[in-house]
């Protein structure tokens, strides 16, 4: 498909060159990585036990985190989108803080709260004998902490773009706020909610800093894919490349899924 000449004139080089540089900056490292993969040795690398353990752990914990994000994030997003209350702006700002927080700092913060001696962690362990750090649940907790803001912001956007007049229509028909939420608001915002969930899932999948700070690196328990890649990288370059390739494929698959299913359709 040829594009017609732009009636406003050609794009200026002053803009085209930086744009091309930006593209190269994003594409070249990935291409270099793919090129450097030891393809003949790849099948053996992919069969390694640590990889399968880490991949499985990453997929399950990310999925669990996504569900928790939905369960907690959807109500919060709804509150921010639909209820007018004092401090709404402040709450929204608060929710977005983890979005800009370095993940390592998130890990330290989680430690302070949920560690064995943490403000919540200490009483929790005293009461139940359970503590989050260095467990699968700790991984999920770290994932939720970093992903929840993404989910809340995305879902809030989806709820905002759904016409509130439908909620009004539901109310005039005798629907309670809960019925309206369940039968009108959520179904109408569903594509955006699903997109938010996938976004949160992808964020969890790539989570490294908070997870390793909070949970350490125990194979089979808290060693997720990013952690495994980081650790492997120090000993075996080829193995690290193979692992990275897996992550790249998974990430691109998510992107394609998002594009086709939700991002393009309004």
């Amino acid at each position: 498909m040829r594009t017609a000449p732009d009636p406003l004139g050609r794009p200026p080089a002053l803009l085209l060159v930086p744009a091309a540089l930006a593209t190269a900056l994003l594409v070249v490292p990935l291409a270099a990585m793919v090129a450097a993969v030891d393809w003949p040795g790849l099948p053996a690398q992919l069969r390694s036990e640590p990889l399968r353990d880490a991949l499985w752990l990453s997929l399950t914990t990310s999925t669990a985190a996504m569900l928790v994000c939905l369960l907690l994030g959807l109500p919060l997003a709804w509150l921010l989108a639909r209820v007018d209350f004092a401090g709404r702006g402040a709450l929204r700002a608060l929710v977005t803080v983890p979005l800009v927080l370095p993940p390592v700092v998130a890990g330290v913060a989680l430690r302070t709260a949920f560690g064995r001696t943490g403000v919540l962690g200490a009483p929790l362990e005293e009461l139940t004998g359970f503590s989050f750090p260095f467990t699968v649940w700790g991984v999920v907790l770290a994932h939720v902490f970093v992903s929840l803001p993404f989910v809340v912001i995305a879902v809030e956007g989806a709820l905002r773009s759904a016409n509130p007049e439908y909620d009004a229509a539901a109310a005039t028909l005798g629907a309670s706020r809960w019925t309206g939420f369940r039968r009108v608001t959520v179904p109408l915002a569903l594509p955006g909610i699903l997109a938010g969930m996938v976004l949160g899932w992808a964020r969890s999948l790539g989570e490294f800093g908070a997870t390793i700070t909070f949970n350490g690196n125990y194979p089979g328990r808290t060693q997720t894919m990013p952690t495994l890649i980081y650790v492997t990288r120090q000993a075996d370059q080829d193995a690290a490349l193979a692992l990275s390739l897996v992550m790249l494929v998974v990430s691109v698959a998510i992107l394609v899924m998002l594009r086709d299913r939700w991002l393009v359709t309004p």
Partner: protein, 319 residues
């Protein structure tokens, strides 16, 4: 009922069961605000008593007020049947029963065969019928219709108007019908409430309002010319106005020179808006043939005249 929406509307009216009150007025006059305040979607002060209960103190969902939105607001993810069943189900009617009731309502509105369709598969007229069915299925005591005919093709609007008139005649509660169309007000309604600039300009029967418009704005809405002469208002129909390109001779005592400001189709005729030299804008209906023959395009200098026998004089209502 008397209610106030600060800064936007102050209105009072009384209606009995079975009454259909047409609410007319220019855009931005407060018609929709009145409807939304009664439905509970806009905060209002005052009181709106329905069966002894002050509606304004009841949350929207418990008002039992049916609202038909201008753009229908049918739930796009639900079928026509599920849209209509939504009200009964929200009030706890079991699913099968609510579905049956919904189909019965769709049948009454003549769209039963569309029960399985989604709103986007419905035409404007069909969607509006479903929307009316949805409002009625929730068993309202007060039915509010916000410009239900707006945005429909003329033919569709005409047939829907006839049907609506029949359904409203059966409806035992009070109906408020917001419209910008004088035909709706005069054919369907038992009372007409004229709203202008957030206030009630006139409240009366269609006959009173159409024959003796209290303001020239009302007159324009019902398609009349009204001129004030002292304490008298003098109304005459645009069809009684004669248009000439030269000063007319003859018996007409009322004549005004002016220029054509706008020409628009009006039924089978053309409606001219003429800005007269001494001030008032008048409307005149002419046949397309006459318009062509006289070259009646905007900017054309014309003379308007009307026979005294076509003018109705009455005392102006105290403002």
């Amino acid at each position: 009922m008397r209610l106030t929406v600060p800064g936007r509307l102050e209105a009072g009216l009384t209606a009995a069961d079975g009454d259909v009150v047409a609410v007319i007025g220019p855009n931005g006059a407060g018609k929709s605000t009145l409807v939304r305040a009664l439905a509970g979607l806009v905060q209002a002060d005052g009181h709106a008593r329905l069966d002894g209960v002050n509606l304004l103190r009841v949350p929207a969902r418990d008002r039992h007020v049916g609202l038909v939105f201008q753009d229908q607001m049918l739930f796009p993810h639900l079928t026509a049947r599920d849209n209509v069943a939504f009200g009964p189900r929200a009030r706890g009617v079991p699913r099968a029963e609510a579905d049956a009731a919904a189909v019965a309502w769709l049948d009454r509105l003549g769209v039963a065969e569309l029960a399985g369709r989604r709103p986007r598969q419905l035409s404007g007229g069909q969607a509006q019928r479903v929307a009316i069915a949805r409002a009625l299925a929730a068993d309202p005591r007060l039915l509010l219709l916000d410009e239900p005919m707006a945005g429909l093709d003329v033919g569709v609007a005409t047939s829907l108007r006839l049907e609506l008139s029949a359904h409203l005649a059966e409806f035992t509660g009070v109906t408020l019908l917001v419209t910008h169309d004088a035909i709706d007000a005069l054919t369907i309604a038992s009372h007409v409430l004229v709203v202008d600039e957030g206030r009630v300009a006139q409240f009366g029967t269609p006959l009173e309002v159409s024959q003796q418009p209290a303001t020239d704005h009302v007159a324009r809405l019902v398609g009349l010319n009204v001129l004030r002469r002292g304490d008298l208002l003098r109304a005459f129909s645009p069809t009684a106005v004669t248009v000439d390109v030269q000063e007319p001779h003859g018996s007409a005592r009322n004549r005004w020179p002016g220029r054509v400001a706008a020409v628009s189709p009006h039924g089978g005729t053309l409606r001219l808006v003429v800005r007269t030299t001494d001030g008032p804008e008048l409307i005149a209906d002419v046949t397309p043939a006459a318009a062509t023959e006289l070259g009646l395009t905007p900017g054309r200098a014309v003379w308007l005249s009307v026979k005294e026998s076509s003018v109705r004089s009455y005392a102006a209502a105290p403002a």
